[in-house]
Amino acid sequence: MHSLGYRVNALLAFAVTILALICGIASFSDNFNSPSPSAEVQVLNINRFRKKLTGDDEVSLTLNISANLESLFTWNTKQVFVFLAAEYETPNNALNQVSLWDSIIPSKERARFSIETTNKYRFIDQGSNLRGKDFNLTMHWHVMPKTGKMFADNLVISGFRLPEAYR
C-alpha cells in the first residue's frame, strides 16, 4: 500500500496536476490584459511596378513602418510575431492578402520601433489588376504565449493607391 512505487506515482501525478493547473492559470491571466497597440505605415516610394512575363503584376515598395506594441506583452508572452499585409479586392478574388514584411519581437524592450524597408516578400498579384488599385496595409500581430492560448489581432490602415501606369 505505502510502497516506494505508490509514493513516487502519487508524487508524480500530483506534480503534473499542479503544473497543468499553473499553465492553465497563466494562460487565463492573459485575458485580463487589454492591449492598445498603435501602428503607422507610409509608402515612401514605388521602386518598380511592372507586369511579369507570367502576366501577373508585381510592385516593389519602400515602406516606413512605426509601431508601439509594448502593451501586448504580459508575463506569459514569449514573443510577438508582427507582419504587414497588403489587402485588396479584385474582380476574380474576393480577398487578396499579400504579406510584405514581418518581424519577430522577442521582448517588450524591442516592441517600439520605426524602420524603413523595402518589401521583404514579393508583392505579386494573381493576374494584372494592380494599376490604379486601392489597397489597405494591415498590421497584424500574433502573440505567442509561453504556454496556452494564442492571440491575434490587426489594425487596418487604409487609403493607399497604386499608380495608373507601370514604371
Binding site: 476574380n92 492578402q97 522577442p106 516578400y121 504556454t147
Partner: protein, 180 residues
C-alpha cells in the same frame, strides 16, 4: 490433502478474480484514452487535434518537442494563421504560417502560401513538384494553443523504440504484480 487442495482452490479463484479485475481496469484505461482522443476530434473538428512540433522551422516560437492544439472550423483561412498541412507525397504534416491568401470570388476556394518563421524562403520548395498554392483540403487545422516540452515523450519514443518497449514492459509488470 483436503486442506491443501482447499488452499490451492482459494488461491486459484482469488487469482482468477484478480486477473479479471486487472484486465478490466487496464481495459478502462485504454478505452478512456481512446474516448478522450475521439472526443477531442469531435470538438475540434480536426483529424489530429494535438500535434508535436518535429522541426525547428518555426523557432523561436515553436521548438522541437512542443505540442500544439489544433482547431478546424468553417472560418476562412487568413494570412498570419499557423496551419498544419499535408502535402501530396509527404507523410509528415508541416506546421507553418500563412503569408499569402487569394480567395476566389465565385467558388470561395482559397490559394494559400505558407512559410516557416525561421526559414529564409517560402514553402514552394516543400510542396509537391509544380504546386504553387495550398488549398483548403490540404489543411488539417490551425494552431490555437501551445504547450512546451510535453511532446518530447513521443519524440523519444519514436526515435528510440527500445525505451518504448522497456516502458510498456515495466508498466505491464507493475499491473500484473500489483496487489491493489
Amino acid at each position: 490433502m483436503g486442506w491443501i487442495g482447499e488452499q490451492i482452490d482459494s488461491i486459484k479463484s482469488l487469482n482468477f478474480r484478480q486477473v479479471l479485475t486487472q484486465a478490466v481496469s487496464l481495459g478502462m484505461i485504454v478505452t478512456s484514452a481512446l474516448i478522450i482522443w475521439k472526443g477531442l476530434m469531435c470538438i475540434t473538428g480536426s483529424e489530429s487535434p494535438v500535434v508535436v512540433v518535429l522541426s525547428g522551422s518555426m523557432e523561436p516560437g515553436f521548438k522541437r518537442g512542443d505540442i500544439l492544439f489544433l482547431h478546424m472550423s468553417k472560418d476562412p483561412i487568413r494570412a498570419g494563421e499557423i496551419v498544419v498541412f499535408n502535402v501530396d507525397g509527404r507523410e509528415i504534416p508541416i506546421v507553418h504560417r500563412v503569408i499569402k491568401v487569394h480567395e476566389h470570388q465565385d467558388t470561395g476556394e482559397v490559394d494559400v502560401l505558407t512559410k516557416g518563421d525561421n526559414n529564409f524562403g517560402d514553402d514552394r520548395l516543400l510542396y509537391a513538384h509544380g504546386q504553387l498554392w495550398l488549398h483548403r483540403h490540404h489543411i488539417m487545422g490551425r494552431a490555437v494553443g501551445f504547450l512546451p516540452y510535453v511532446g518530447w515523450v513521443t519524440i523519444i519514443m519514436t526515435e528510440k523504440p527500445i525505451i518504448k518497449f522497456i516502458l510498456i514492459g515495466a508498466l505491464g509488470l507493475l499491473v500484473i504484480t500489483s496487489k491493489e
